[in-house]
């Protein structure tokens, strides 16, 4: 970095930083340290005494079938959500890149879901697909498809994935559009002159050149599916039926606030923290790569 012109002042910068640092320390670092400490404590059944058990909570959590189930559910949910949300968004972005007329209108109409809270998105889909009063559920039944997201675990998963993916389409769409515009048109026209058809042009030129955007969105969508979809799960299925849609974050909440198993909930928090750190690290590695190649 080039040396910058700066203001000579000894106290002011600390004052400027103070508000953010204070909030960061009280609401981020203190709780994070407490989570670490708590994750190594085990409380007696009455919550009166606790003793230090080192990594016993982690061993217990990682061996717990319910936790492994939550991990499995989270992976399935995240992959499905990311694939659906990104696939639909990419298709729409490629189409939007082709047309000139009413482009702005399409964009305006496609960004709405971004403003809808995930929990509300979930509730809207539940309203449409609710087996007793949901109009679309009635139509599905008439078409001969048995459908009950309140009892059938696959249906429940399909419902939460649909709601989560729907909400994320706008975001992915905006990024894919920006990514497509960065691809030089001359490249595609050259391929067309060489006789490559549209589908081939897409898979051999456009898609590889979009890889950075796709990869970036993959990380973002995974993070979204892991963390921001708590509202959808909580509002739509409550983790059910059974534990079919209980994701990791939902389980941390459920064990900590509903079942009050503090030590194990904290251990789960710490594991989640490690997952976030890994995802963030991947994201930044990618940013670095983009600098070199871009």
């Amino acid at each position: 970095m080039t040396p910058r012109v700066v203001f000579p002042n000894r106290i002011l910068p600390y004052l400027l930083l103070a508000p953010q640092l204070a909030i960061t320390l009280v609401f981020f670092y203190l709780p994070a340290v407490q989570a670490l400490y708590q994750s190594m404590l085990r409380e007696d059944p009455f919550g009166l005494r606790s003793r230090f058990v080192w990594f016993a909570n982690f061993r217990k959590v990682l061996a717990d079938p319910a936790y492994l189930n939550a991990l499995h559910v989270t992976v399935v949910f995240s992959v499905a959500t990311a694939v659906v949300a990104m696939g639909v968004a990419l298709l729409l972005a490629v189409m939007a890149d082709k047309v000139v007329r009413s482009r702005g209108l399409y964009r305006t109409l496609l960004i709405w879901p971004y403003a809808v809270a995930p929990a509300i998105a979930g509730m809207l889909f539940l309203f449409m697909f609710n087996p007793s009063i949901g109009t679309l559920a009635v139509l599905l039944r008439k078409a001969g498809i048995s459908w009950d997201p309140l009892l059938n675990s696959t249906d429940a998963m399909v419902l939460v994935v649909t709601a989560a993916a729907w909400k994320q389409i706008s975001y992915n769409f905006l990024f894919f559009v920006a990514g497509l515009q960065a691809i030089p048109k001359s490249l595609i026209e050259a391929a067309a002159i060489d006789g490559a058809r549209e589908v081939k042009r897409f898979w051999t030129i456009v898609f590889p050149l979009l890889a950075p955007t796709t990869f970036f969105l993959l990380v973002i969508n995974t993070t979204y599916a892991f963390f921001d979809t708590f509202g959808i799960i909580h509002a739509v299925t409550g983790g059910g039926p059974g534990k079919a849609t209980e994701t990791l974050v939902y389980k941390v909440y459920n064990d900590g606030f509903v079942n009050l198993i503090l030590g194990e909930s904290a251990a789960q928090s710490v594991i989640l923290m490690i997952i976030v750190i890994a995802l963030t690290a991947i994201q930044f590695r990618y940013v670095e790569r983009k600098v070199h190649y871009g």
């Binding site: 203001f7 002042n9 508000p19 909030i23 994070a32 989570a35 298709l91 189409m95 595609i188 710490v270």
Partner: protein, 316 residues
């Protein structure tokens, strides 16, 4: 180095007719232009797919609106008609005045006020504290500058969801449960906004600072008269993103509000729905959903240009 590549993305982005309204308007009056290797047919197919996409994306919101204009009896006998019904005034006035008693005695207006306070508080609070800390980190040199930067940076890796319980404990200890401060303050410290401002400030030429200093401007004068006006677009973009972020929060208000009159509208909606008994007042739920969805949509659509620019540039 990172900035050079960003600028490339940004300039590609500016040339793009779709994201620049002026040129898109100019072209919209004309025809779809064909590139080499494109047929008119494929353009029609593209329009068809886009229209289908819009229908799928907009349908849940449209359908909620439709449901909010029908009586409960109509809703309970699916399939629901595709067009709005006659109960618009009835349902909306019931929800806005008397019908609010369904949500634990709290009117929809209170919920909207709570949510607005929370969303505005988070958006403005985040912008203020991050612009100040970014200012300190970029325009001053002092011991532990980079340490502080990293302290802030690492919070990227600690979203609320991973430190739920201990953060809740801190809130209880500080007596912040069921207060606006409790809803807002823990969410306003975030690395993203600080990083964005830092990145932008670093593109400001040193000559500008030098000139200001030669003219006798102190750090505050420089901040208010030069830096803030230059950051206007960034602030606007960030405001939209953070307003939406605040408005759509779920886990945090669920934890820190116990009493019904401190609920946000999203949490209250969740409480209105019960599937076990056929007790849910669906027509009022739908009205409340519409009222919960409209404000952020208006903000996003009205400030679309800044929002898209801010989103795509800040996340890259």
């Amino acid at each position: 180095m990172a900035r050079a590549s960003d600028r490339k993305v940004a300039s590609g982005f500016r040339k793009n007719p779709m994201l620049q309204q002026k040129s898109s308007k100019k072209l919209a009056s004309g025809q779809d232009k064909l590139m080499i290797g494109q047929s008119m047919l494929s353009i029609y197919v593209a329009h068809a797919i886009l229209i289908l996409g819009v229908v799928i994306v907009a349908f849940p919101i449209y359908y909620t609106f439709v449901a909010s204009t029908h009586s409960l009896q109509t809703i309970l006998r699916p399939p629901l008609p595709l067009l709005p019904g006659p109960e618009f005034w009835n349902n909306y006035s019931q929800a806005l005045t008397g019908g609010g008693t369904r949500i634990g005695g709290v009117g929809v207006v209170t919920l909207l006020v709570n949510t607005t306070v929370m969303a505005l508080g988070i958006a403005i609070g985040k912008i203020v504290i991050s612009i100040l800390s970014a200012y300190a980190i970029v325009f001053f040199r002092f011991p532990f500058r980079m340490t502080f930067f990293w302290v802030i940076f690492i919070t990227l890796m600690l979203p609320v969801e991973v430190r739920i319980l201990p953060t809740y404990k801190v809130m209880v200890d500080l007596g912040l449960i069921d207060t606006y401060a409790g809803l807002i303050v823990p969410l306003i410290a975030s690395a993203t906004a600080t990083l964005l401002f830092r990145q932008f400030f670093m593109t400001i030429p040193g000559e500008l600072v030098e000139a200001a200093r030669v003219d006798g401007a102190g750090p505050w004068r420089f901040f208010f008269d030069i830096l803030l006006p230059l950051s206007r677009t960034n602030i606007a973009a960030l405001f939209v993103i953070l307003f939406i972020y605040g408005w759509t929060q779920y886990l945090w208000p669920l934890l820190v509000t116990n009493s019904n009159d401190m609920n946000t509208i999203v949490i209250a909606l969740r409480k209105m729905i019960s599937f076990a008994d056929a007790d849910t007042q669906w027509h009022l739920v739908m009205v409340t959903s519409i009222l919960a969805i409209i404000p952020p949509i208006v903000v996003v659509v009205a400030m679309q240009r800044w929002f898209v620019k801010g989103l795509v540039e800040s996340e890259k």
